[in-house]
Assembly symmetry: C2
Homo-oligomer: 705 residues x 2
């Protein structure tokens, strides 16, 4: 604002003078930096190319689509990429198109994640890393990033031919600013420049780190390839494919292998063709390697833009300011990704797949409906990160069984015991916040028992909403089970030590599969003791039962949930026996993997498992929404196994059961869900569904699931 | 970078041309905005004063100390202020000095919070709102912010005379950018301007909202006072105190009261003295009131700087983009404040009080020590937010008792039952993350039972580190108890319905206080049933005990923890009886509030309560660190009350007890803690401490606390 009462012309003249002065300063800065590029020996990293001494590039046109390419393989890198993407989304103001070059593991994880994340104005394309392997596998490489590190070299041919510009990022960088500012630096490229890079913040390429240290050739300190601006169009025109291969082949005549993967080759090419490179300000790639010189950059910059954890030690790197950078990284690691679903309302965009229908369904809900919370929770699409930790799929075996269960943070302490009791594959859905997912990761890493198990798949379903989405969690775990059979358990139960072997043997002996469809019932018991000696056999179990140390499950509170199992008969049974469905029956069963899914309408406490058993019994023959029945599903006979058992350990009532008990509205809403469930059941099964009507009108089981 | 091989002069000429063009555009923008200030009728909000059309002010000198003033009163505003401060700290790059004008409640909360937060380069000064009240209480005011809203008017006299500039913020604003950019706008003030404000983004002051709507006088749409830049020096010089009082008195001759508190008076003064005001770009106060016109501002701005929730509905305001803004707000609401402890390493600053000693102590720890985690956890200073929710201190009563306990998220479901069993005051420490604290808030708001209780004080201790700091939590809850006596309980226990009354009567009848020091023992029982009918009397309790529905506490696993209570004698007792300390005794007791504190070295599972009872028994007569004994402490006799009882409900083993059981290192570390505890005990009590030696060498209790 110009001061009131002063001639405006004076202000204008002063402003012009200021601009001229500013122009001179900027121009001077450019000259000095040009000198540095030409090899001014006085210029070290941080001494030049800072963000605050260059001309500010114009911001990219509002709403311009920015392209980002990332190579990502395996479980751990997939977690890293998500943290990177969170930091990018936090600051971005433009629509983004992510180009992800992935192996099968990362693709499965990231495809599910982005599909369920539904971030507006983010498009994701996947490229098969396996198909690119032959193009780089001939290069001997010693870097920890392996073959995947080298794939950045082939992006100009791997990415769509019409794509002219892309920002290429390593998975171990974190944004501290808006990526459009980085994109805007393309405007600084001369007509012939094609690669924008930040200088290395270490002395590696100077070749004096130890005696006979022979790095690959580079201009001075060389450049770091954790953050690259690529003019793909110009590289293609310039014959990049030939160019880097020629250089690499020639260098490999005298050098045994690359030490820093793609970075060695990029630097060797640039040394030969220095006109290709545009130097970027150091703040766009603050490198926290072990012997980093980054402090020269960040101690003078007013603003850090991108932090690069380019030490194999990552967050455990020794650096006197590492605490600062680590807190920054943890911010995004623990950041609630749901909050990034915010719209770029300035830039109208196509909503992500499914988002529009979801918005419509949510908009139709009545906020005054006393069951509004239930309705909303049922519709919630939770972000899902499958195989959050490294996981080896079990080898294909025709009678193998995966234990399926779900849990939240307050049941983590069950995992070790569960691993001791169940030596086979497990598929577990965990309902966590982003921050809790990190606590969970540390918990597993700190436990030798858990860390040793590669056959347990942990799928993180991110928390959203007030009610525990028990059946949605079960369905995630069930969908990720990879064996032909699944044991549908709950996290508070410990199976008999022998159960895994016994189930496989039973499945084989009973000739299940093509010939016969059965749900095998595993009788459930419970102890009320904090510590007790787990029975090693049915004989021991029966002794504990007689001694009053064990009870049949819910014997005191809700016997009808398991009464049809017929415990008296089980005591004596020597062979599997068939039992009939009855109202409120909710046994723990082993079924084929393609069994009906759980009905996701049951959220919070109550009826979630009962409804599933009704579905099993309803002999569904058709797949119909929303019950998600499998088209080939046959009648399930319920067979109780004479030597199988599982025991429930004591715990405090869940928050949901407490709400159920204290809130009449909660109970009314559950009844409404049950009514709707039965309407759907009638619609699908006709008169046969009448059988289940009395069950739906009975009072509620006090058990959680 | 200039293109290589081209004459540099050409580039320089182009650059100059660009700058001249830029200068013209900027100048043009200024003229247009000046026209708007002069009352150009075509200019509405958003049509001018956007951040991207004005000249960028120079950033403030690096490391300049920025001053911020906030008026804050009560429990709810204190929570708001913390979210505001988190957003400010997240983006800031400068040292800050916060000037907080607070009532006694907010001061207690914020003083504790900032003291334990220990954020580098943040200084906090407090000013008594009560002392400022007389200066504004004569003004009739209808705004929801009450008297406190008006206090912004008296800041020029209330803040230190040497303070020349300050940014004044409402508690309901959220930063989306670095506050130094706002501070830099001081540079735009003319020599006479003293108040920087953003125009109102509503039509309120146009006076046409309804028939006979008579707002206070204002320039056009007037200004919003949620964000103010104040040149205190100039206001003092200009006689601000007289100025606003004169204007207010004159307007109040014809208007009944202020509708928008200070904002009405600021606007009336500015209408009279328009030369005082400097218009700030609209993005510095994006106002989300009910009928906001803010979209005109934010839909064209590339950057939002400050969001202002200036509707009484706050986050529930109706606005088509509210989801975007709400996610932004939730980001900081749920942000882990511990991460903001990051240093401004570019600006060296005095470490916060205690931080240096803490750093030294932490630096002396040996990372290879198997008990490193324990040592680190003991030293951790947790952020503490006392009285997180509205709380009424109990009226002073000589025999009143506060129930003291601690919990984490997994025990929230105990709170309602506890409230039903204990009608008296409670002081509860909750160990939560920032995000969990919000879940907890919603939990209480959704529960009629909890929402009705103003005598339960909830103190949030923010999570940090892997071990549950049980005794630090107990000490926080104990320090905040306001009655002469405390019942030191655990969250899994429900006291007899009559216990609160019975304890107060017993304290009176036994003549405790000056004459006699006693620890009153409340015998502990347990049920292993999820649901059971809580006994209404000792007779009913004994019947359940005989029926095997109840047991004495830890009867199966650890009888010695409570054996000295002598349950057999209690069955028959008609009067309180004295018992003797014995090894591992850990009864639940009622003691004076000034009892010894718990030993914070016991973190995680084990010995935390036993050590406290040893301390009580050790008849400490001197206060010494680190045991924090009270100087006046007399011998405590242990008196068991014949009608008192409390019952433990079942729950799953805690993570800590699971670790204790599975990890030999954990057990060894606990033994090391016990040894050190005994060494300290010997140092303080000499030979008397020998009595406790055998207890310290016995195996460990399996109970959590």
């Amino acid at each position: 604002m110009l001061p009131r009462g002063r001639p405006r012309a004076l202000g204008a003249a002063a402003l012009l003078l200021l601009l001229l002065l500013l122009g001179f300063l900027l121009f001077d800065g450019r000259l000095r930096r040009a000198a540095a590029l030409d090899g001014d020996p006085g210029a070290g990293p941080g001494d030049h190319n800072r963000s605050d001494c260059g001309p500010q590039p114009p911001p990219p046109p509002k709403c311009e689509l920015l392209h980002v390419a990332i190579v990502c393989a395996g479980h751990n890198s997939s977690r890293d990429v998500i943290t990177l993407v969170k930091s990018m989304l936090f600051y971005r103001k433009n629509p983004l198109h992510l180009h992800l070059v992935t192996d099968a593991v990362a693709r499965n994880i990231l495809e599910t994640l982005f599909h369920t994340w539904m971030v507006p104005a983010v498009r994701v394309s996947f490229y098969h890393a396996d198909q690119l392997k032959p193009q780089v596998s001939w290069i001997p490489n010693k870097h920890y990033s392996g073959l995947y590190g080298l794939m950045k070299l082939v992006l100009p041919s791997a990415l769509p031919a019409e794509l002219a510009r892309v920002i290429v990022l390593d998975t171990d960088v974190t944004f501290a600013s808006d990526i459009s500012e980085l994109w805007a630096l393309f405007a600084h490229f001369s007509d012939t420049q094609a690669i924008g890079l930040v200088e290395n913040q270490s002395d590696w390429y100077l070749g004096n780190l130890w005696k006979n240290h022979r790095p690959w050739p580079a201009l001075g300190r060389g450049f770091n390839t954790g953050v690259i601006l690529l003019r793909l169009d110009r590289l293609r025109q310039a014959g990049w494919e030939q160019m880097w291969r020629l250089t690499a082949r020639r260098e490999l005549l005298s050098l045994p292998a690359t030490s820093l993967a793609d970075q060695d080759i990029f630097n060797a090419v640039i040394k030969e063709h220095p006109g290709l490179v545009q130097r970027l300000p150091c703040v766009w790639n603050v490198q926290l390697s072990d012997h980093t010189l980054a402090e020269r950059c960040y101690s003078e910059a007013s603003d850090l833009k991108v932090i690069h954890w380019n030490s194999p030690k990552k967050l455990r790197v020794k650096n006197k300011h590492v605490e600062f950078f680590r807190n920054f990284y943890l911010t995004f690691l623990e950041y609630d990704g749901n909050l990034l679903r915010r719209e770029l309302f300035v830039c109208p965009s196509q909503p992500p797949p499914g988002a529009e229908q979801l918005q419509q369904a949510l908009a139709q809900l009545d906020e005054e409906d006393p069951c509004f919370e239930f309705r909303q929770q049922q519709l919630t699409v939770h972000r899902v990160h499958v195989t959050f930790l490294p996981h080896e799929p079990p080898p294909p075996r025709p009678h193998d069984v995966t234990l399926v269960a779900q849990l939240s943070m307050d049941r983590l302490q069950m995992l070790e015991a569960l691993c001791r009791h169940w030596p086979g594959p497990m598929s577990l859905a965990l309902y966590l916040t982003d921050a809790e997912a990190q606590q969970f990761l540390h918990f597993v890493e700190a436990s030798p028992v858990l860390a040793a198990r590669q056959d347990v798949a942990y799928h993180v379903v991110y928390r959203e909403g007030p009610l525990y989405p028990v059946n949605q969690l079960r369905n995630v775990a069930l969908a990720q089970a990879l064996t032909p059979y699944v044991f549908l358990s709950d996290i508070d139960f410990l199976p008999a030590y022998s159960l895994y072997d016994y189930l496989r043997a039973s499945i084989e002996q009973l000739g299940l599969g093509s010939r016969r469809k059965a749900a095998l019932v595993v009788p459930a018991f419970e102890t009320l003791r904090y510590r007790f000696s787990f029975p090693h056999s049915k004989v021991e179990l029966l002794a504990l039962l007689d001694a009053g140390t064990l009870y049949t499950f819910r014997y005191h509170e809700w016997p009808r949930g398991h009464a049809p199992t017929d415990y008296a008969r089980w005591r004596e049974a020597q062979a599997p026996y068939r039992v009939q469905w009855a109202a409120n029956y909710e046994p723990y069963v082993v079924v084929p993997r393609d069994c009906p899914r759980y009905d996701p309408r049951f959220v919070g406490f109550g009826w979630n498992k009962v409804a599933h058993i009704v579905e099993l019994d309803a002999q569904a023959r058709q797949a119909r929404q929303p019950l998600l029945l499998c088209p080939t599903l046959q009648e399930y006979e319920l067979l109780v196994l004479p030597e199988a058992f599982t025991i429930h350990l004591p715990h405090a009532p869940s928050l949901d059961i407490s709400r159920f008990r204290s809130s009449p509205t909660y109970r009314d809403c559950l009844q409404a869900l049950k009514d709707e469930f039965h309407q759907d059941l009638s619609r699908h099964h006709g008169a046969a569904a009448l059988k289940y009507l009395p069950a739906l009108q009975q009072p509620q089981s006090p058990a959680r699931g």
